[in-house]
Symmetry: C2
Subunit: 149 residues, 2 copies
């Protein structure tokens, strides 16, 4: 099976991004303002250097965010989302999106790529761990904490 190479999104992709983000949130019972609002926010975000998207057609997407780092003097890359629609899973699209996102981070001069994921999402963890990611620092797992405001 050939996996089409994921492409960096342009402003023309905003509607497609809004649609797949909404689908992703709906699948996981996460709050979503709807595809059109997400599309408009994505359109605005694509005008900046801080957020971009990688698209595998309508099959999957990655949201990739950048932020300057005082520690490194470089940019930090945060992989916000990595999602493939259910009927397209198991074809390597997730790994192709991840590889493209990491390549993009390198081309932007990022010192590292970071992400948060649930410990029970063994499929995603397997993908990350076989792509050079680790959740260990000095031999112990790093945890991700959040406080809603």
């Amino acid at each position: 099976v050939t996996v089409p190479a994921p492409l960096l999104a342009t402003a023309d992709d905003a509607a497609a991004i809004g649609a797949i983000m909404h689908r992703c949130a709906t699948e996981f019972d996460e709050p979503t303002p709807g595809a059109e609002v997400l599309a408009e926010r994505a359109r605005q975000a694509l005008l900046t250097d801080s957020t971009t998207f990688v698209l595998a057609g309508a099959a999957g997407f990655a949201q990739v965010r950048f932020r300057p780092s005082v520690w490194s003097g470089r940019t930090d890359c945060h992989l916000e989302d990595l999602y493939v629609i259910p009927p397209e899973r198991g074809r390597g699209i997730g790994r192709a999106l991840l590889d493209r996102a990491v390549e993009l981070a390198g081309s932007r001069g990022a010192s590292h790529v970071e992400l948060a994921t649930g410990s029970g999402d063994v499929e995603a963890r397997g993908l990350y761990e076989t792509s050079g990611f680790t959740n260990l620092e000095d031999g112990e797992p790093m945890l991700f904490y959040m406080r809603e405001l």
Copy 2:
């Protein structure tokens, strides 16, 4: 014991920030470019809306970073650092810094504050968990992954 109220840093605090960041990195055997380079980067960062610092005199600091979110349409707040120098620990300075950082995030309209920490840092985890932070999502711990580039 009275803990002085932590203050939001201004550009005048850049040298103090560089000094305490360097001390923090040295204590934990993390790479550091030195106090002066960090001070200059902090000075540049303080000119932007994306990074700020909270200082408890020379006793401790928090680095607080903001980033617009497509998901929420608001700003996300990431607590990058929370550090108190060893002789000043145990006086509540860490909690005062954390409270001030969370208050700042609220005043900027952030939807949440997030952070990563080692699972073995039980003192920090206790502070976060008694301050309304959770590392659980749908009952399972969230993990933080990183890949160096």
